[in-house]
Symmetry: C2
Subunit: 345 residues, 2 copies
DNA sequence: GATTAGCACTCAACACTTTCGAGTGCTAAC
DNA sequence: GTTAGCACTCGAAAGTGTTGAGTGCTAATC
């Protein structure tokens, strides 16, 4: 029996137990539940070593020991065994995402609630549209009121964006249609981010009336927000954990979840289709220094990128969290065969 | 000094004090803080009467007394004095709603966060569109992909609704335009709820190809949800109140706020531009039987109806809540001079 | 007759002590 | 290297008094 290996196993047992119970783990517990061939005294010696190595902390002399951040890091990096979901759970996920939904908001909400239900962790779903990816496919002006039109932009990926525009003069529907057709053909393939500038250019080449119209249109295409929506689900789950039975802590946490900026920073900064685990202070938000965040991003086929984040105490069930997010990724990618963010059964 | 009047004043003092402190109120407190000309013994007698009348409860023999639901009801119905907001607060509200926003979701979120910030109560904002009110003003088909078009409906109030439609055959943009124009003129003024039926009717009079197209369009106009969005803000405020320092209670409450149905029922059922106060069990949601809900509805000019609900403990600052909601109503109605849900500075 | 002072009684909250048990570290024996 | 044994530590839980805010009742006072 390799000694290094044994230390490793004991550390793993401690982390597993602590994740399960949230109670400091004593040598006796390990000896009875995990390493029955070793006496508590032996475990004690090992634990003493592990503490010296920085993997364990002791809250006080006669409590058990608690894993340190370093331990969780090691655990996540090396000790995690894949933990497949049950068939029922996968079916549940599939079913939940299957229902016909049109709005991204709705999908996100559904997803957040399903995932938080499955994991018991608070779940945040952020959807953003990387602007550079969006190119114009079709443009249409629709009359709404006398001097008011709706500018509809269809992108190559099928996303639709609508902007109300107030014109300075009245324009006949037929004219609007002609203008739409000309602009459509001239601007096809133009990145949405450059649409304003391109419209200005075209306007410069046009005569008085038309230039004015195009100028007004250009003016509406300035600030398109990148992050479109953030939905949070399963907040009440936070209060299940004994670490937040202190109301003040819970309140802090909840109020972070109400701060859009902090959520964005929590969910940003990892690549596409990649799962990232940020333990404790790693997540960068001061108030969440003893929370961990597991995030995953998926590309939704229509140019949108969705990031799902699970937020829980540092003693999170990382294996479970990662499995669920992986499966969600597979399910979503399988479903999104469509162009406008609509799900297909 | 009228005796009835005095009882009244004492009850009011008790409620006021309890709302402020959340602590059972004793006779001595009232005698010192509110009715200095009366001794505690006198107050005691009055309180004893009030208890017999059902306005006060005593948690146990030697605690003070606590207002009953009946007392709160009386308080709200008869004792409430108008409590105008400060100039700063009104300015804050105005400023917060003033910023240019396009999406109803955004307005709601902003509003929820502002109102919950001002009142320290959790705030839910529901937006719905009474279907019967919506009538078609303009219809436009926009090509998106080969066999895919976007059906855009503009209502008389200026709301825009878009539905992606998959066609069975490819249709040239010019044809789409012509069809749009004809349908627009034929269907103008048609309530959105009847749109599907009307399209079917027209289809029946048409030839093969066209009938198919119209039939497909009609098929998409079936289930338009009435409640479009619910946004909740200031959840963390709940944990400020000592009544929710019991984590289990707080969790229950939070999880009600995550149940869309319950939120809908909480926010539904009061008329337009009217403020409703539902105390404790009156709000009809079992889990919220010791919460009160103050709601107000406003018509947004574009046919949408927004309902704002403040959720807090039964010892809510009703006066304050009502003032804030009244002011919000005024501000919103002032701002919504526009047709498509966009706010104007 | 309404008001009040006075008194006995109640009960939660707080501080304090004791007990208990789960834990540790160390040492000596296996 | 492993383990049994022992002394020690410390938080949690349970028990104990004390305090103070509260009540209800009665008798005296205005």
């Amino acid at each position: 029996m390799d000694m290094i290996d044994r230390k490793y196993r004991i550390l793993q047992a401690i982390i597993d137990d602590y994740i399960l119970t949230a109670l400091p783990v004593g040598s006796r517990t390990i000896s009875r539940k995990y390493e029955q061939r070793l006496s508590s005294a032996t475990i004690r010696n090992e634990m003493s070593d592990l503490e010296e190595l920085g993997y364990l902390d002791s809250p006080h002399t006669s409590a058990g020991r608690v894993p340190s951040y370093k331990a969780y890091r090691l655990y996540v990096d090396q000790m995690l065994q894949p933990l497949p979901l049950s068939v029922e759970e996968m079916a549940m996920l599939q079913k939940c995402l299957n229902s016909r939904m049109r709005q991204v908001e709705q999908i996100s909400a559904q997803l957040a609630s399903a995932v938080s239900g499955m994991t018991h962790y608070t779940t945040a779903v952020m959807t953003r549209t990387p602007r550079e990816d969006l190119r114009l496919s079709h443009l249409q002006l629709v009359p709404v009121a006398d001097r008011r039109v709706l500018l509809i932009l269809v992108t190559t990926t099928g996303t639709v964006r609508q902007t109300p525009v107030d014109l300075e003069m009245q324009v006949a529907p037929d004219v609007l249609y002609t203008v739409s057709r000309i602009l459509s053909s001239q601007l096809e393939g133009c990145p949405l981010s450059q649409l304003g500038t391109r419209l200005q250019e075209i306007a410069r080449r046009e005569s008085d009336e038309m230039a004015k119209l195009l100028g007004t249109l250009a003016g509406t295409q300035e600030d398109v927000p990148e992050v479109s929506s953030i939905v949070v689900g399963g907040r009440s789950n936070l209060l299940r954990f004994p670490e937040y039975s202190d109301v003040e802590k819970a309140r802090n946490l909840l109020s972070v979840l109400e701060t859009r900026d902090k959520l964005v920073s929590l969910l940003s900064g990892n690549g596409e289709m990649e799962i990232s685990v940020r333990i404790g202070p790693e997540n960068g938000v001061e108030e969440l220094k003893d929370c961990s965040v597991v995030t995953a991003s998926y590309r939704l086929g229509d140019g949108k990128v969705q990031t799902i984040g699970l937020i829980g105490p540092t003693r999170m069930q990382y294996g479970r969290a990662i499995s669920v997010l992986t499966q969600v990724g597979r399910t979503i990618c399988g479903l999104f065969s469509d162009q406008d963010g609509e799900l297909r059964p």
